[in-house]
């Protein structure tokens, strides 16, 4: 049984039909990437999974439970954490307070300390800056903070929306390495990316989205060799 199973998902924004029947599965332990052009519905897919928007039709199953109508804050408790598009850290909270908000659903102090240790281990920079206000971090550090904050809840499934957006090439490379590292330590990842080449490189499987529909899917290696993918998303002729 897959960790996440989505069937025939339809999501609307008012009259805008953003998702037109998405089917998607993520197995435990995988990195699955969702690629597609601007406006294809990648962010909407993640937002529907995490409960920020409600689907009009279809079902979302996580760990065998249907979560379509579970409020967003309870979905986090179930083990899904969504890092949204743009570096939306809490600017006037300290780095430490940001991380503590990430652990909001955890009551056990010992578990929180343990998660904090893991996050600082992954991002030593955050430990150095823990008393600084989030808004004073550099762009790259802010992106580390959004990911670190999400990991504080120790999610089973991490939804990442364009984590490399707006970062310098060096940092992009580091972020993708970090994602692979997080996965190697046991977290399943659903990754949305504009940077299709880098995403396909680290992913096990991929889905290609066009105007609210899945048009292609398969092992990432295969999609990387696919003619249509190379033309449309990898910038080749």
């Amino acid at each position: 049984m897959p960790l996440l199973r989505i069937e025939n998902l339809h999501t609307y924004y008012g009259h805008v039909h953003a998702l037109k029947g998405i089917d998607l599965e993520v197995e435990e332990g995988e990195i699955v990437t969702l690629i597609g052009a601007n406006g294809a519905g990648k962010s909407t897919t993640l937002r529907t999974i995490s409960g920020l928007v409600r689907p009009r039709e279809g079902r979302i199953e996580f760990g065998g439970q249907v979560i379509n109508h579970v409020p967003a804050h309870k979905i986090v408790q179930m083990g899904v954490c969504h890092v949204p598009e743009g570096r939306r850290i809490f600017t006037t909270l300290t780095v430490m307070e940001n991380l503590m908000m990430g652990a909001y659903t955890i009551k056990d102090e010992e578990a929180i300390r343990e998660n904090l240790r893991r996050v600082f281990d992954l991002f030593p920079r955050l430990a150095e800056r823990k008393n600084q206000l989030g808004g004073t971090l550099s762009g790259g550090e802010q992106q580390m903070l959004t990911i670190g904050r999400a990991l504080m809840s120790r999610p089973r499934l991490l939804l990442l929306d364009e984590p490399s957006l707006g970062l310098a090439p060096m940092l992009v490379k580091a972020i993708f390495e970090t994602i692979r590292e997080i996965n190697a330590r046991g977290t399943t990842i659903l990754l949305v990316e504009q940077n299709a080449r880098a995403a396909l490189k680290i992913a096990h499987r991929a889905y290609v989205l066009e105007t609210g529909r899945v048009v292609l899917s398969g092992p990432a290696q295969e999609l990387m060799r696919d003619e249509r993918v190379r033309k449309a998303y990898l910038g080749e002729r």
């Binding site: 995490s50 409960g51 920020l52 409020p71 967003a72 804050h73 309870k74 986090v76 408790q77 954490c81 969504h82 890092v83 949204p84 939306r88 809490f90 600017t91 006037t92 909270l93 307070e97 503590m100 908000m101 990430g102 909001y104 659903t105 206000l133 808004g135 904050r149 809840s153």
Partner: protein, 302 residues
Amino acid sequence: MQQLLQQLINGITIGSFYALVALGYTMVYGVLKLINFAHGDLFMWGAYIGLTGLSALVALMSRGGPILILPVSIIVIVTIALVGVLIERVAYRPLRSAGRLAPVISALGAAFILESLARNIYGASWKTYPTGLVPAGRVALVGGVRISVMQVLVLVVSFLLMALLYLFVYRTRIGTAMRAVSLDHEVSRLMGIDVDGIIATVFLIGPGLGGLAGMIVALYYGSFDFTLGWIFGLKAFISAILGGIGNIPGAMLGGMILGIIETLGAGYVSPQWKDVIAYAILILILIFRPTGLLGERVAEKL
């Protein structure tokens, strides 16, 4: 010098009233970006419920004394807090995604309803609090400054409440979540924070504190009428803006500054001119710091 100190103490007393009420405006603005126009009237209702409670208790026990204030304070806090939560539930929550204007009208509506209710139930005449609740004496401080027992009482209570609120907001998990919700509802939900629950908590604390302030103010001045909510509410609102709306230490600071400027203006120039002086200074401060004294520009991005 002695007069200045005396005036400062009076100013801080009035300032702490403004601050207690300003906190309610600023906390609600923080989480909803809405001016809760009903807040001044909730504050006034605190004065009325305090009146009913204290009068009843004095009659029942056939004695005065400060100890009677305690149970009535609790009744006032609980009642006004519950009314605050009720208003949020029926007047604000259904309009949360309805743009900025509809909730403002709803808030004004709630304010008018509360004020009308007070006038219809208690009448438009001046109401007087029972006497003998607080000893009438004065305490001598250094430099010949004298301060009434009443002033000591209200200052101690106000500062204690503000300190507790500060610790709650800046040192606890729920308080931090409250600040997170003020910055970004959506990301707060993604952290597992029950945003509706946090907003309800704000509507418990703000009005609870404001209602208690209503009782304290009425006790301090001895009498009031139904216009109390409007006048005091407006000044507290101004304090919140002056300190930087949404900012909790700002509301405390803004209230103190407004109270002190008003009192010094009344004492050194003339009572008739105190408002002219106070508000001219306010306008000046806002020209130079449009976001208020402690207003955070970083937060404005969102």
